[in-house]
Subunit: 313 residues, 2 copies
């Protein structure tokens, strides 16, 4: 199993990426081989400093870097020797089984959509986030920003992808799917939600429990919540801000500690043919560690294979 890691992506790379690799290798008995992609003159000294065993990693030299604010399409075209471009090339050609980056989000999305195919039958790939529940568990919310305008069928497909993710990655049997809405009863909501409801209700691949509201997002109601990417992105960023607020206000709370995005590593891109994980720009070692662990789990559970099967019919 080969997992590729963009060593140049994120505000604290390559140092925090190397430290994440160190945490991963120390804590895993049968680690994957890590392809460390980036500028070898910057990576190698750190690997030595942090005593990373050479047998577990393979440095792939990529001399260019796509910076955080570059235009994604332009940057990918002009910087074919960048860590992101090289990573997607290795992923698309089967040399790696997953690719992780905390770099330019747009470049990661564009790169994934252009170099990988969507899974046959999937109209729109999606990105999801984990929301911590007051009951102690976690839920999946999707889409969180890739598809800011959606058709009803997109939400229906997100429900399948989210259910498979909840089942195989979060270990939730028969995950409950809720449609994010502004009222409980069928027929409530905006045009999209009204049209998506009957599709979800008739979808035999999911366990649909009806509408859920803003007040239900953080409690143990639905395991998977679907919405278009506009509302989902607002929720994601508001939830992330709760962690910052709890720190700023010195609130001691195990619950709000769970809003630390580094615990979940990054945002998986679901619906493309290979595992791709996009990290936050301000990722530290813990986030890199958890992104590696997550991608390993996605490979081990054959999540992508299960998604492909679901959309075969």
């Amino acid at each position: 199993m080969n997992i590729g890691l963009d060593m140049m992506g994120g505000d604290f790379s390559p140092l925090e990426a190397v430290r994440g690799v160190q945490l991963y290798l120390k804590g895993t008995t049968a680690p994957a081989t890590l392809f460390l992609i980036g500028d070898e003159t910057k990576i190698n000294p750190l690997l030595q400093e942090y005593a990373i065993p050479a047998a577990s990693v393979k440095v792939i030299h990529a001399p260019q870097v796509i910076e955080m604010n570059e235009h994604p399409t332009k940057a990918l075209k002009e910087k074919q020797q960048s860590s992101i471009s090289v990573g997607f090339h290795l992923l698309a050609t089967g040399k790696m089984d997953a690719f992780i980056s905390a770099g330019n989000t747009g470049a990661m999305l564009v790169g994934a959509l252009f170099s990988l195919k969507p899974i046959e039958g999937i109209q729109r790939p999606t990105i999801c986030t984990i929301l911590p529940k007051t009951s102690g568990g976690t839920g999946v919310l999707l889409d969180v920003g890739l598809n800011s305008d959606c058709k009803p069928e997109n939400l229906n497909q997100f429900a399948i992808l989210g259910s498979l993710y909840a089942k195989h990655i979060l270990g939730i049997d028969n995950p409950r799917v809720g449609l994010l809405n502004i009222g409980e009863e069928e027929g409530k909501g905006n045009i999209l939600a009204q049209a998506a409801y009957p599709l979800l209700k008739d979808n035999s691949q999911i366990h649909f429990i009806g509408n859920v509201e803003g007040r239900d997002l953080l409690i143990d109601k639905a395991d998977v919540t679907v919405c278009e990417g506009f509302t989902g992105n607002v929720i994601l960023k508001m939830a992330e801000s709760l962690f910052d607020i709890s720190r700023e206000k010195k609130i001691q709370s195990e619950y709000f500690d769970q809003f630390d995005f580094e615990l979940y590593g990054g945002t998986p891109l679901l619906g493309v043919t290979k595992p791709v994980i996009i990290g936050h720009g301000i990722s530290h070692s813990k986030a890199f560690l958890n992104m590696i662990v997550l991608s390993q789990k996605m490979i081990q559970t054959d999540l992508l294979g299960k998604m492909k099967e679901s959309f075969l019919s």
Copy 2:
């Protein structure tokens, strides 16, 4: 100044409404005359019990009650002697200057839209909420659920209504208006946000500061945040749930204490010709008190007159 209060609306009425009236009359030097609308056989004994001075209130007998789960249009038609129907009649005919209810939200909205006119020039009335900021101030978010699908011009009008509310009710000079979006730069977002941005930018009646994101909702960035009512309602209910969570988790935090909706009383309906305030079903005395205070302020500042002027041209 006559302020009408539906004594039968809400889960804890008329008792909590009477207790709210008591708090108001005790704490105000020049109180408005309160029209207490509802079943006099239930109200009068409570007024006596709580020693409400007869000079400050006028009981308006309304023998019927629209229950929380009744169909709004049907209930308003069939129960013309209900407290909500009687209240809107008194408001529309000029006998009262404001109307408050914690009863059936749908009936309040339908009643307001049918018995009152929208302010000339306003396409869609809206409801707003207060969001507490970590810096100590408060912001206005609108729409929070009345308009789940919007056109760009609706958001532009909400920006004007929200700015006037922030200025005259919250006392914020030159309030900063943000467009809720999923990225900072112009051109980001869904079709609605992309189309609303240039309208807001060209609107000389507001102080537009550009896009704001989910992470900015609770910090001191915009004083007024505009969005369609779907996303706004999800945020509102998620924010309300934070108060419940902070109680459940026994989190000691002055900041999260500010998420107690009773502090803000209720949701004003903006864009109709008279002040209408809709309370939460589970309102207690503090919420009733604050709804009375808010409606008094809306009358005293002639907020509605200012809104009418703004849309004259």
